[in-house]
Symmetry: C2
Subunit: 234 residues, 2 copies
């Protein structure tokens, strides 16, 4: 397993650090991987490596910069600060897309994310960002800035129906928001599955009781199926 490559980029004056997994051959797609509110973790790095194994260049984005959190409390505070200004947050997220496009030019661009990262890819879509596919895994579906213009990427939302952070009212409101702008979405919901179902380990590196092997496997397969559509293997 090769080490991830450290990538320095920036959002204005804020230095950011991304982690890049490269495929063994030419990339079929460039994938921005937005982590959880803990920023990058071994679980997210495993997903980036899986994308590289599938022929994609995968860049794990940095939400926070030098003030990156070291524990759950500081991560929660950092996330709260980031979300407090939704427009600034979108600028921060776009910096990762731009860095990615410089690293793997000329191939379809995809953004995926987990928890806060799932919300992030939907925020990019709502912001009008031009890319091929956005995939959210246990992401928050509500937004302070509902989509007002056409959504460019196709959307895949993989959701644990028992996610305490995303009640069913948020699900139907999301459908209505997306339909109002004609978005092309696939929604995959898993009964009795909770927030964070893709992570075998929790934010502290302990076994995650919300991990669900089936939901993890089937949601990842759904992503691979759509990557095959927007960026066919060469």
């Amino acid at each position: 397993m090769s080490a991830l490559e450290r990538i320095a980029y920036a959002d204005g004056d804020t230095a950011l650090t991304g982690w890049l997994a490269r495929p063994s051959g030419p990339a079929r797609a460039a994938v921005a991987v937005f982590p959880t509110f803990m920023n990058t973790t071994p679980g997210v790095e495993a997903k980036a490596r899986a994308l590289a194994a599938a022929g994609c260049a995968a860049l794990i984005g940095d939400f926070y910069g030098p003030a990156a959190p070291h524990d759950m409390a500081s991560a929660f505070a950092a996330m709260t600060a980031l979300r407090a200004d939704p427009r600034a947050m979108r600028v921060r997220l776009r910096a990762t897309l731009e860095a990615l496009e410089g690293l793997a030019p000329g191939v379809p661009v995809i953004a995926i994310g987990f928890c806060l990262g799932g919300m992030a890819v939907l925020e990019l879509a709502r912001d009008g960002a031009d890319f091929a596919l956005a995939a959210s895994f246990h992401g928050l579906l509500a937004t302070p800035l509902p989509a007002a213009a056409p959504i460019k990427p196709r959307l895949l939302v993989c959701h644990g129906d028992a996610d305490s952070l995303v009640p069913r009212a948020d699900v139907t409101a999301f459908w209505e928001e997306m339909d109002a702008v004609g978005a092309d979405w696939h929604f995959l919901s898993f009964a009795r599955v909770e927030h964070g179902f893709t992570n075998p380990l929790d934010a502290m590196g302990e076994p995650n009781p919300a991990y669900d092997a089936t939901a993890d496997r089937q949601s990842w397969a759904a992503l691979m199926g759509l990557i095959d559509e927007v960026a066919p293997a060469r």
Copy 2:
């Protein structure tokens, strides 16, 4: 492409005719394939052959027996008669499961269906039938006899969000019905996709405007992913 094998079976005094697609080697699973209200069609036969190619014995069930319809009007009348007695309908459906189990014993049993057939596999699950996986493709989700006992199969529901026969209220009611009995469901919904999205041809053999290649492909992949879980390839 080998011919399907004609299988004679019965529901009490009603003679039924199934069509069996066999895999080239030993079957990994036995799959009952419930067709649309038109009974078997070339589109459904293609799905049975795809299951055989994936290592499953696939038996297309017969809803109607000797009174099988020859046009849409008579098919609609036959479906209406079948659905008029929900308990008798369930007995009819169980006859196909039983015939299948005799043809391919000792392997996990799966039931899939399209339109009326999608409703059929959910009705079998609601009736307490003991099998491994039920998969509905653009099936009706409402029922005259809501589930009252635990659901034995895992459930995969593949749904076109724009299906005029299945409003969103039916979707959320289905989730509530299934959760009340602790069912293990995966729900896959496709934006702007209409009823009958898996069929390239309509009931009259003409191109089907509701056909959606992406929804067809991704819903089938979801089925294959779950078959891999309940009946791993040997």
